[in-house]
């Protein structure tokens, strides 16, 4: 479904490339964890897959369509199929929860539709938002101010947004970074269930190796922008796990 081929990314003001020669294939329904020390390039990889940073070499393709070459409407159509749950779950605080959730639909809505929704959301749209929030377990927050939510609740809203986007690929950047252990397990279980249910390719970056082992099919290690290993969970050795933390 998603293929990353010999990808190189270099930020303009940096000497060393943030990513170099990355190759990765992920099938629909497959769950991949990306591990590695801070600054290893995990966030950069996700941004490149989504077309948010320009790539200097190689390419990313979604079902054969190249992300880097798409422009304007085409790029938007591709992005719509790749949902991102950002590291700091970047929601717009001032909006209500249902508005942040339905922002996932912006890729298929016209701007006029978006404006109409802000002024007067239709019943069907509110039902869709509520269904997504039910799936992540916080339906009662539908009309809360986003700024009033806890860290874990914000994470769930970000996942609900990704659900509304109806993507083929789901990228989650450290979705459990700021959560207690019990919450972390709930969120990862939720993401994995979703991937299975909807046949999504799930790529998730993590700092906890034991969670990576328990919830994912494959683990990829990134350090200094290079891919150090890419193995199914069954073939992971202890030294790989030391590296991850």
């Amino acid at each position: 479904m998603l293929s990353v081929v010999d990808l190189t990314v270099r930020y303009t003001n940096q000497a060393a490339p943030a990513l170099q020669g990355i190759c990765l294939n992920v099938a629909g329904g497959e769950r991949v964890a990306v591990v590695g020390p801070s600054g290893g390039g995990k966030t950069t990889l996700f941004r490149a897959v989504n077309g948010s940073v320009p790539v200097q070499g190689g390419y990313v393709a979604l079902e054969g369509e190249r992300v880097g070459e798409a422009r304007g409407v085409e790029l938007r159509a591709l992005r719509r199929r790749i949902a991102v749950i950002a590291q700091m779950h970047d929601l717009v605080d001032r909006l209500d929860v249902y508005q942040n959730v339905m922002a996932g639909a912006l890729g298929r809505w016209s701007s006029l539709h978006a404006l109409r929704f802000l002024l007067r959301p239709s019943g069907a749209e509110l039902v869709e938002a509520r269904t997504a929030l039910e799936r992540v377990g916080i339906p009662e927050k539908l009309r809360s101010r986003t700024s009033d939510l806890s860290g874990g609740q914000r994470q769930r809203v970000a996942i609900a947004r990704a659900l509304v986007q109806r993507p083929a690929v789901l990228l989650a950047d450290e979705p459990v970074a700021s959560l207690d252990p019990a919450r972390s397990e709930q969120i990862l279980a939720l993401l994995c269930d979703l991937a299975r249910e909807r046949g999504l390719a799930l790529i998730c970056s993590l700092h906890q190796p034991e969670l990576a082992l328990r919830y994912f099919d494959r683990i990829v290690g990134l350090r200094h922008g290079r891919m150090v290993f890419d193995r199914p969970v069954a073939k992971i050795e202890p030294e790989h796990l030391v590296f991850a933390s």
């Binding site: 938007r76 929601l91 001032r94 922002a103 996932g104 912006l106 978006a114």
Partner: protein
Amino acid sequence: MHALIIAWHTLLAFFPPDLSPSYLRYVWLPVTQTVGMASAGMVVALCLGIPLAIYVGTRAPGWQGIVGMLSALRAIPDLTLAILAVVVVGLGPAAGMAALAVFYTAMVGKVFAELFLAAPQAPLESLRATGAPRLAVALFGLIPLTLADLLTFGSYSFECAMRASVIVGAVGGGGIGTELVGAVNGLDYPRATTLIVILALLVTSVDTLGWFMRKHPRIALVLFPMGVATMLLNPPQVFVLRHALATFAGMFPPLLSTKALAALPALLWETLEIAVGGTALALLLAIPLALGAARNVVHTAITAVVRRVLDVSRAVPEIVWGLILVVMAGIGPLAGALALGIHSAGVLGKLFAEAFENVDTAPVRALEATGAGRLPIVAFGIFPLAIGPIAVHTMFRLEWNVRAATVVGMIGAGGIGEALYNAQQHMHYQQMMAYIAATWLLVILADVAGERVRRRLGWNYVAT
């Protein structure tokens, strides 16, 4: 001495104001025109400025070009635009509206664009990552992220538009401004006083309205019916668009005779003198006034009175002070500098007072703990702590006063403004255009120089 006595007698001639029912009934129309012009200007500014700002804020292709265009447009003083508009669309509120619309479109567009560009990028990237189109990113991200600042600046610019609406009237743009010039030129001083009181009331009530608008943004919708009604009631007086275009085309190429060209540097210099003199006077007046208005320096019974004084001097625009001072101090740059000084003292006084009130309390407490009296605390604590903001505000005021100095020139205070106005009165439009271009360059130069100095000194501050 003699001059002072004359000035005193002239001042007395302004009192008491003419409050007769017949006159009040008569000024009703100009008042509605002034309010309507300000509303119409803001309506156009919001309808054009916000889309432009969104275009820039989403960094759409060529956004830098639009920023440049808006900055260039904003450097043309409002009164200069009004003079141009009077020539093109004829005397009356239509000209005033046109000038305000252009000036405030540039102002709203530029400042909103700056606010959008400074918005946090992470939530915006998240929205773009869903494949959202630009406008949707603006609706769900840019606007909610910056809403508080947008409302503060929006209501502030409506206050400015109300003052500007009087200003553009002074050159024939209709409303109270036109009446005021008529009253002063007709030596009808009591009526001038009435008009100034009305103006001060208008500006302060817009100030209050702005405060409510920030709480309940929906109130801003009242601008629309008022603005649209004024536009419909005051169509441009030129019925043939071709005529307007021909008049405008006739202003090109800008041209000055060799004699006028030789006199140009002296005119520009005089304008700069008015600006610097006015700012210096304002600084001298504003510091004691601000100390008197700062609640952490003197008793609130005093601050309440001093604040009213500041409100009045700020509510009356430079050009209106100029009209009065030209009567009292005679035509010339002195009246211009005094006019700038009085208005700017009101503006700076308020800003300085806020700076005094916002100083870090810990060092001041430490001084109080030594048993120091009020005056040493101000001299050694509050004043030195507030010197940074005072310097920044004064710099901005100096920049603004370069603009304002060209404006007060038009009512006889000398400099390039006076030359510009005379050229228009004599219908020397090519010459007028040359002066407009010179004014524009002077203002841009002042802005750029100010920007340089601020950057060099590391002063960061959002320009309004």
